[in-house]
Symmetry: C2
Subunit: 196 residues, 2 copies
């Protein structure tokens, strides 16, 4: 049996490779922004939205007999607002100003689809306290990090200089990076895709 | 002001570099195994031992006017026993058999010494549930990972194939890697060693 990863995220690809999971890449044929807008209009909560988007990505791939893994991450501010990937440095600055001095959550979902049916799903949420960030720091930070974080939800990498943004991080590091990895590995073991 | 890192750990060095902390390396002139045996004989608990060893490493460096950062990590099994670095593949296998199906804690301590005096310390503990591991899996695992983990407390890297060992990890990822990084960054900011 094969595993197909329906995600363009280089971080997710590296996580699975590092963990020793054999997989191939597949292109999710999903207009993510349109899907997100539709789910938001339909009243989905941020955590449920991550799981639904992961499922939609997986289902958009013709997997044949393979297991198709879809994944998504949603950032929810403490007032319930959601942040997407910043499209520009100016927007990254605006996002970071918004995160400053507040707590937000990252919801990381993974769903596995087989023969067009959802057969497994897992979602993990992490709570992150951002310290108060002044504009002098943010300019310095974006001078160093913008190129590396431009495709990241929230405009940071905790495994890089982004660690300087936080007072505390509560929850799975793997979920911060974009996958509920330990539950996913347990499922893959149960299906014989990993040594057990 | 300068920061000197009194640790031979490549992982700690990489963490500080990735987080954007400027520092230089210093050699701790401490016989770690002898110090550990002495502290154990004196009845130190594992968490206190990590903090005391971090302080002893920092104090063993002649820092001049610099801040000297010492760090240590101690693994405590759920029966209170402590594991050190495995000295050989056979010992790594024995350690992993011992961790199998049980919970252990990693205590990661950092201490900063200035002019020979301890001026800051932080310790974070992480709880890790290891799934039941069969010998077939462990042979496969060590075939792939032994060279990478031979100097690691517990004989695993959670950022590598070691993720396959765990059912759950509760606590700071940075502490798993060997430093209470977020409290440390906060102290370095307060001393003007990082942009704030």
């Amino acid at each position: 049996m094969n595993l197909l990863l329906a995600s363009r995220s280089a971080t997710r690809r590296r996580m699975l490779e590092a963990a020793g999971v054999p997989f191939a890449l597949a292109d999710a044929a999903l207009d993510e922004e349109a899907a997100k807008a539709g789910l938001a209009a339909a009243g989905f909560e941020p955590r449920d939205m991550a799981e639904m988007l992961a499922e939609m990505k997986a289902k958009s791939v013709a997997g044949g007999g393979a297991l198709v893994l879809g994944a998504d991450q949603v950032l929810e501010l403490d007032d319930g607002a959601m942040l997407s990937k910043a499209g520009s440095r100016a927007e990254a600055l605006a996002q970071l100003r918004r995160l400053s001095g507040r707590t937000h959550q990252l919801h990381s979902a993974a769903v596995i689809v087989e023969h067009g049916q959802r057969i497994w799903g897992g979602t993990e949420s992490v709570s992150l306290d951002v310290r108060p960030l002044g504009d002098a720091f943010l300019t310095f930070y974006l001078d160093h990090e913008y190129e590396a974080v431009r495709w990241n939800v929230g405009s940071y990498r905790v495994e890089g200089m982004g660690a300087q943004l936080f007072d505390a991080i509560r929850g799975s590091h793997f979920a911060v990076l974009g996958l509920p990895l330990l539950p996913l590995l347990a499922y893959l073991r149960s299906r014989g895709l990993l040594e057990s």
